[in-house]
């Protein structure tokens, strides 16, 4: 089937197209230069055309989502919508059901979402959930930062073995890249402890967070994986965590980016996720303040670092993370119902509801710090739009965040009218920031940059040959001032005029008009077969003795990934 999107105003930062009126053609699911005269014309005159959105970090599938849904039935009833001829019934707000997740991303014009924390032991279930999320492709990142084998290789500086282990685990779990959460801290939580700072040791492992992160970064670059290491640093959410954050990012400085073609798309060697939660100064919440400027300065000076923000949206949401000791801290503060899980020799997880209110000082501080990061980081290719869904807020608030970024007036009115707590002006520099994003920058932080950071070579741009993943929004940028109409921005980005996924129209005028099976994007390392076999043989005695499952049941077999997009990496 051939289509031509006619007369749209195109923002395609990867191809440096900034608001040009042009036609976009696609055929058989791919963007093409030209189509025949028989092509179906989709008139999008004076509407914004962008590549479909790419979410670089969210939690949408896996066992902790299931725990969240099970123990928060009160969340499921928020956002209930009846089934239609096309969609199944929708339910849930911060932890929507799987189909609902797909529909809501699709309505916002998104096409790809990274599931940012998959414990290999729970990978099978994560893939089962991915298979029931329609309309968006998902690349899951397995967790490595507290894996017992990884900590041993890191302690002994066995980078070759670690590379082989990563290659094997990506295959075994059908994962995409290397995720690290509170390195050594989640393991310490198994002993009721946490690590503090970057150079603290995991109990009984005699290895520091620094050693684990550096080893994983080296192995990542040795393999030439499409994505860099993707880290949630230590000390998340603790006042005074800026030195830990900067030490973590700084420690990778001397590690060269892989020269392999597979790693050629990205610029960074480390991606720091939800940087907002890692940018606090002070000694306690009594004297906590924004460290956004310091973190942003570091990122501005160091192009090998990228980040996403984890913007607080002022909602009642559900936090869930492999940083289980942090969740226990939250439980001690709020006393709300708390779930905790130990994932054997791999990681841990904690879940707790969280109410971010504009009336409370801490939530407001977090909200302002997130916006400060967006506004202080000069190069939009180094910062991505996320809420760390659902941790700082549900992903359906992305359009609202876009409206805040595009309107200094809106931000100032929230501060001046007392809509947010006075800490926003007293403890952060947000009130002094007049920068406003334009549509080109919005397109960068919500699709082009995340795609480049994840090393995708088939999406995030309207390049011929790429997937026809396209979003159209009902705004005429030549006749619309986003600075003056934040509600208009939010409305348009919440309800795509068209969302096109692999050349199929899935959303028209904000309504789901069709659904399609999503792809699972995983990384297939080629060239390490012998090393992978050796490393698996070497861990097998331990695995057999200490894991609660057999190796044969541990692996994610092909039928769990019925619709794969396999990214081959020539690692040798």
């Amino acid at each position: 089937m051939e289509y031509i999107l006619k007369n749209g105003i195109v923002y395609d930062p990867a191809n440096e197209v900034n608001g040009e009126k042009m036609d976009i053609c696609f055929k058989d699911g791919k963007i093409v230069e030209d189509v025949s005269a028989d092509a179906e014309v989709l008139d999008v005159t004076d509407k914004i055309v962008m590549p479909a959105g790419v979410d670089p970090h969210a939690h949408v599938a896996g066992p902790k989502l299931v725990v969240g849904r099970l123990y928060r039935p009160e969340d499921e009833r928020r956002g209930v919508a009846q089934k239609t001829k096309v969609t199944r019934a929708e339910a849930g707000f911060s932890i929507p059901s799987c189909p609902t997740t797909g529909y809501r991303y699709s309505r916002m014009g998104y096409g790809t979402v990274c599931e940012a924390a998959m414990p290999p032991l729970e990978a099978k279930h994560t893939h089962e959930e991915i298979n029931t999320i329609p309309n968006i492709d998902i690349n899951p990142l397995p967790l490595f930062g507290n894996n017992w084998f990884v900590m041993e290789y890191a302690r002994e500086n066995r980078i070759d073995d670690l590379a082989a282990f990563i290659a094997a685990m990506l295959r075994v779990s059908k994962g995409y890249g290397v995720k690290i959460v509170n390195p050594c801290g989640s393991e310490a939580w198994g002993w009721g402890m946490n690590v503090h700072g970057y150079d603290d040791k995991a109990p009984y492992f005699d290895v520091t967070s620094r050693e684990v992160v550096r080893a994983l970064a080296k192995a990542n670059e040795q393999l030439g994986l499409p994505h860099s290491i993707h880290i949630h640093p230590n000390d998340l959410g603790h006042p005074g965590n800026v030195p830990t954050t900067i030490a973590t990012l700084d420690s990778i400085k001397d590690i060269a980016k892989s020269t392999k073609a597979s790693a050629g798309v990205r610029d960074q060697t480390i991606h720091c996720t939800h940087a907002q939660f890692h940018s606090y100064t002070g000694n306690s919440w009594k004297d906590a303040a924004s460290g956004a400027e310091e973190v942003a300065d570091f990122i501005n000076k160091n192009p090998y670092v990228t980040c996403d923000v984890g913007q607080v949206t002022f909602d009642e949401t559900t936090t869930m993370t492999a940083d289980a000791p942090m969740e226990y801290d939250l439980f001690k503060i709020s006393g709300l119902k708390w779930a905790n899980k130990d994932i054997e020799c791999e990681t841990a997880a904690g879940i707790i509801p969280c109410i971010y209110s504009p009336k409370t000082p801490v939530s407001t501080l977090q909200w302002a710090i997130g916006l400060e990061l967006f506004l202080h980081i000069e190069n939009p290719w180094q910062v991505c739009l996320t809420t760390d869904h659902p941790n700082a807020g549900p992903f359906i608030r992305y359009p609202k965040i876009i409206s805040w970024l595009m309107s200094a007036e809106k931000r100032m009115s929230m501060i001046d009218n007392g809509e947010v707590h006075k800490w926003a002006s007293k403890r952060t520099g947000l009130a002094g920031l007049e920068r406003e994003y334009d549509f080109y920058e919005i397109a960068t932080i919500s699709r082009a940059a995340p795609a480049r950071i994840h090393g995708f070579q088939d999406r995030g741009a309207l390049t011929p040959g790429y997937n026809a993943d396209i979003a159209v929004y009902d705004i005429n940028p030549n006749d619309f001032d986003p600075s003056k109409d934040p509600e208009g921005v939010e409305k348009a980005f919440s309800n795509a005029y068209y969302t096109i996924k692999d050349g199929q129209i899935v959303v028209k005028d904000g309504d789901i008009v069709s659904t399609k099976q999503s792809h699972t994007i995983w990384t297939n390392v080629i060239g390490y077969e012998e090393e992978e076999k050796q490393i698996i043989d070497s861990i097998m005695p331990f695995f057999t003795q200490y894991y609660s499952v057999k190796w044969e049941n541990y692996q994610v077999h092909d039928h769990y990934v019925p619709n794969p997009t396999r990214v081959d990496v020539e690692a040798k």
């Binding site: 123990y71 928060r72 039935p73 009160e74 969340d75 009833r77 709300l336 119902k337």
Partner: protein, 288 residues
């Protein structure tokens, strides 16, 4: 003023859902509107007129000017008055789950018995039940930790388990007996029970008041006896008589107040102070 009368024609074994048929939505409806309306029944919808004859009298400019009368056995009609903000609903019979749930204003009166979750998460208004209620009256939705937050529920019969669970405001008055765990997890508001209480009132309560005029079966260990109080005043209301006062639930560092009738529960006290004249006078006064 507008009166909308629903006279039952037939019952359904699968529950009808009335959450769309609340005063806020139907105050402007005519008989023709009702004739065209299909009510959710299980996973389908059927004409409301299959189940009820509906007559509309008078005019209404707002939900407050509507009186909705349901005549018949509505024990398979869910969500009556759910989320309504004004007006009046009278059920001349039983009602099913969620009657008056999340209502923020107006009055709902049921002249029969009601099923579970009556007045769930109610924010305001008045819900009066002439019969009994099942469990979770004035409670929260499953999983939710914020139950009824305002308004008043009066139950003339008995209340089921976990009445007033997670209460965060408002008042529940049970004129009959109350089953286990009344006021569990409550943080604010008042529950008054005229009859006897089976077991464990106030489990894990953080704050708020529970007043019991009858006999209490068993108390949780987290309630610490404070002694006998006469005519105690709680949140500005005086409860005449002599009560044993407890604070709890200390298992959760709770500071809730539980007062139970002293004479009916005198077996709980190690020493019993003989009734004085004033106390007898109050008893006589209350007996009148």
């Amino acid at each position: 003023m507008k009166t909308i009368t629903f006279d039952q024609k037939k019952t359904s074994s699968i529950a009808l859902e009335f959450d769309e048929l609340i005063t806020d939505n139907i105050y402007s409806w005519t008989e023709e509107d009702f004739a065209a309306y299909k009510v959710p029944v299980g996973n389908s919808r059927f004409p409301i007129t299959d189940y009820f004859d509906i007559t509309v009298e008078g005019e209404a400019e707002s939900p407050a000017e509507v009186k909705m009368i349901l005549n018949g056995d509505c024990n398979r009609v869910k969500y009556i008055g759910c989320k309504m903000s004004a007006g009046e609903v009278v059920v001349n019979g039983d009602a099913d789950l969620h009657v008056g749930a999340e209502m923020s204003g107006g009055v709902v009166t049921v002249f029969g018995n009601v099923a579970a979750h009556a007045g769930r998460e109610m924010k305001g208004g008045k819900l009066e039940i002439m019969g009994n209620t099942k469990e979770f009256c004035g409670a929260s939705y499953i999983g939710e930790w914020r139950g009824m937050s305002g308004g008043e529920i009066i139950i003339h019969g008995n209340a089921g388990k976990q009445c007033g669970e997670c209460l965060v405001g408002g008042k529940i008055h049970v004129l009959g007996d109350c089953d286990i765990l009344a006021g569990i997890h409550m943080t604010k508001g008042t529950i008054e029970i005229d009859g006897n209480v089976n077991r464990w009132p106030g489990g894990q309560m953080k704050n708020g008041n529970i007043v019991i005029h009858g006999k209490v079966g068993r108390l949780l260990e987290g309630f610490v006896e404070q002694g006998i109080v006469t005519d105690p005043e709680l949140d500005g209301i005086v409860y005449p008589g002599r009560y044993i006062e407890y604070k709890g639930d200390i298992a959760l560092n709770g500071k809730g107040t539980l007062i139970i009738d002293a004479e009916k529960n005198r077996d709980r006290l190690s020493t019993w102070i003989e009734e004085d004249d004033e106390y007898n006078a109050i008893r006589e006064y209350r007996a009148q």
